[in-house]
Symmetry: C3
Subunit: 444 residues, 3 copies
Amino acid sequence: MTINLKAPQCKPVSESKGAQMHDLVQELYPICRSITGDGVRQTLRILQQHIPLEIKEVPTGTPAFDWVVPKEWNIRDAYIKNERGEKVVDFAEHNLHVVNYSTPVETYLPLAELKKHLHTLPDQPGLIPYKTSYYKPDWGFCLTHEQYLALEDGMYEVCIDASLEDGSLTYGEYVIPGESTDEVLLSCHVCHPSLCNDNLSGIVVATYLAKALQQQHNKFTYRFLFVPGTIGSITWLSQNEEKIPAIKHGLVLTLLGDEAGFTYKRSREGNYKIDTVVEHLLAESGKKYQVIDFFPYGYDERQYCSPAFNMPVGCLMRSQHGQFPEYHTSADDLAFVKPAQLEESLIFLEEVLDVLENDATYLNTNPKCEPQLGRRGLYDSLVGKSDKKSREMAMFWILNLSDGRYSLLAIAKRSGIPFKIIKVVAGVLISHGLLIPAVYNAAE
Amino acid sequence: MTINLKAPQCKPVSESKGAQMHDLVQELYPICRSITGDGVRQTLRILQQHIPLEIKEVPTGTPAFDWVVPKEWNIRDAYIKNERGEKVVDFAEHNLHVVNYSTPVETYLPLAELKKHLHTLPDQPGLIPYKTSYYKPDWGFCLTHEQYLALEDGMYEVCIDASLEDGSLTYGEYVIPGESTDEVLLSCHVCHPSLCNDNLSGIVVATYLAKALQQQHNKFTYRFLFVPGTIGSITWLSQNEEKIPAIKHGLVLTLLGDEAGFTYKRSREGNYKIDTVVEHLLAESGKKYQVIDFFPYGYDERQYCSPAFNMPVGCLMRSQHGQFPEYHTSADDLAFVKPAQLEESLIFLEEVLDVLENDATYLNTNPKCEPQLGRRGLYDSLVGKSDKKSREMAMFWILNLSDGRYSLLAIAKRSGIPFKIIKVVAGVLISHGLLIPAVYNAAE
Amino acid sequence: MTINLKAPQCKPVSESKGAQMHDLVQELYPICRSITGDGVRQTLRILQQHIPLEIKEVPTGTPAFDWVVPKEWNIRDAYIKNERGEKVVDFAEHNLHVVNYSTPVETYLPLAELKKHLHTLPDQPGLIPYKTSYYKPDWGFCLTHEQYLALEDGMYEVCIDASLEDGSLTYGEYVIPGESTDEVLLSCHVCHPSLCNDNLSGIVVATYLAKALQQQHNKFTYRFLFVPGTIGSITWLSQNEEKIPAIKHGLVLTLLGDEAGFTYKRSREGNYKIDTVVEHLLAESGKKYQVIDFFPYGYDERQYCSPAFNMPVGCLMRSQHGQFPEYHTSADDLAFVKPAQLEESLIFLEEVLDVLENDATYLNTNPKCEPQLGRRGLYDSLVGKSDKKSREMAMFWILNLSDGRYSLLAIAKRSGIPFKIIKVVAGVLISHGLLIPAVYNAAE
């Protein structure tokens, strides 16, 4: 079930997080995942070496709103042999060769009949497409168009040694408790077989984000979900409706390893705090990015943002699904995702969470005219700092706007000064008694 | 009183609506209309051959808010003769030759005196201008500047065989009852003599729109007004104040036959539903158009949008009044309005009314996550449709946004999918029980 | 303490206001002002020759919110002599040569030690910078970089014959009572020594504005403040908190004599009426200008717009502080400010106040349809007026929008017709009984 890849090698501890994440992508790449089955279990067990996630099993037949947990699919082998007994298509060579969720088959067919079950990309003749048939019993093979054209007339032996039986749907969940029971949701889909950007990139970035969060004290409780696409999030939501109100901010993580700039897809409301935070950080990053409005297509934000829930959940990507030529093909491989981009994605997410953790509203304790900063040594404290001017203006802005209507993020936005400077300078003003917290509101 | 025009010919029934409307323009063109008098009566009687409109008479002297219904004006003949007894200006040749509402005159004048009563367009020397003097007793002739320059010194005989006497103001009204007593108002002015775009185009498009509506079941009640400009709408409003609250949407129809793109002039509020509907349809039409803000000048929207009424009435035009060289001249003739544009105007108005009739707010009956569309055959139902992708996205959008806050029109606007697709797909979802009506509100 | 300047000469009365204001700048230029001391007193006494302002004294040590009124600073003489006894830097030649608020010094220093107290502008080697050290006891000299480079090694005699003692802070205040106790605040800083644009320009324009206002009947009460920057406005606010609520509109006046277009810095809220008025007049002026958002740096708007007060106070400038090369240097001299620009600033401010004085909301007494203007001679009244078309449209706009929701200014903005035409035409409509005042609200 695995393709011939170099085994992961022992790496020095000092290796960059980007390289570490790419190593983990490499380790997970050969596994044939689907929306159910052992591929997902194996994937989650590997993640358990990094974070203590719980592996949950939901039995086939369990209702999930308008859906039902399907039978479990597992595959052992699959091939097409020609009359000479040569394997012309071989699942052992690439997981994408079999239509995901294919029913078991063992038969002989003439080429004309076989072709009804073959999928290719005529415009990308060297690539294998990725196809699924989860909810309509069917079988098929995916191959390069070059392979397809080389098929000779004659009879073919077709074998798909798979099972589709009562079992369960498997997903991973990891909750890192924080000071508050208010939650931040980070969700990624774990159902795609050997595709690196979609979505091993999201899986490894989520894992490393969790690794970082578990080592620090957090204001929010963080909930990570590693779920099969669509049916996984629907199943989780149907079994955890009472947890939804506590989720104050959330992101779906996917397509985080390619070389494009970030794409942020807003929540359905479009003006939740997660939207404001991500858009502000993208805008001040100085890098190329795009922000797109919510639309009811894509990944699990479709479910989180369904009308009854309308959750504050956006989606962070680099390239956008369906918008790059490697999408859902064998070209979404180990070379397509880069350590540097995985790392940049991780760092950006850490910045997003840093704003969520630290944004708060304060009150200027001297709201009548400016306080005398010089007397308190606040100008002197800036001497020699490279960002002296920004910090000085940050002092004035924070004092001027801290009337209870502006959080630190709102001050950063109005002043044009990066949040990280606003945060540090607010700390200085707090230590001088010039700023005190207004009412605490984690969901603000 | 008529000028020499080819008589209307018998046309085949299969003739396009554009051609039929142009024929009707041609039939109405020779009649000398004014704000009162037999010209309006004759016009309305011809319209009665198409729609059963009521012809109403309001006596001279009837108060109408700050105004009073004026004396009735009728004209039989008018000319200017030179010393040789030759008619140098002759009303029989063109209705525009006499200043509309001229008082009767029979006199001899030297050229210098006569000139005080002559109106020309020096910059458009081949055209006769259109002039009126409704509320200030006066008389005059309009002629081409070429005619004017050719006038020789000497005495002239001037005759205007007109009457200005107690009578009545005449207008037409046609109400097509609908399921609801909520109304849509369609208003056009009928006072201009031989000018085709302004406003025979509006008159015939309104007539054909009424013809279409009377043959179908409508949600709204439709009220058509064929009124003389200003005094006609003021008179109607003053006698029908109690009917105003029922009017939920309205349009003034004028200048609908020339070759320019549509101009939509918003209601005074600018964000009534009629504004939203017309602007959305123009935007998605892919054609050139302009939307302009309300201003208190133009046609009867001035009265409908006066501060006490502030009705939801916009104005649909092609060229804008005063903005094209043929405006209020003899060049606004039969050649200036085109069958194709008359028909396009009619079709566009039918689309506007279709949105008003069919827009409604629905509730997704499965608001928790997406319903399983495949199980219901909803994907299969799209196979082979040329707009398959739009319809599939329309399903997702309608389900996602049908939370009670979005009408179908709002969904069309947010999704960028044409209303007509949204409407059809909503029907499919209703038939599958996935959508049910929210509270009905015709005025929404 | 004064530098060698031509004495003011007797001018003819017919001299333009711009020239008169420039003369006053010239008279005030030689005085060495600071945030306290005789320079401010002398300045205010000269202004008393134009307007009856009160000179107020607030003793050293008086608390003012987070601040305290400082000791009073006065200077008689200051110089640096070389070993040959030659004055190489001489306060008598330019007030800027001494760091404002320098502590008294009489000592001998080698050049290397002296240099620690010297300030120059290496990039503008011919200009003397302007430096202060109000709240940190220190002394220093400012000189051109050319002078600095010419200093020879050796010992120098340094003398600053100044005093820093208990005394008082001096400011000027002039209140012109109006029909209402609602106030308009005009504030300018009077602390800068020989700098013409910053802020003799603001001082003289404020003075001439007060001169004009005191000769007319005003709706508002006008309060003019001539205060030292920062500590002056803080002191005034701390002693007059109960007066703040009556201030409905306000402007800080500064940098009003250079040749740049106007810069308007909005109030902290950004949408107070003063903001709307100034922005509308700038937009319709047809001249180059810029409007910038509030930021908590600049002049006394920092205090007026501190969070507890958040007053409706903007700042009118031409060039913006810190954004022109002459800023805070000896090049901000008599040649840098121009009579024409001083006059233009004055006229613009008079227009601003004219809108504040005359804006009001009226009700159309004939709100049902248009009133019949012709019957009242209102069209005839326009005949021959060069702005006939604007006045006619102004009639329609005023009548259409006077429903209680639109003030005359709002009508000017929506119609695009200048306020001054709207005001005049409204007067005509009032005189015909077509318009009556809605509820009076000076702060509207």
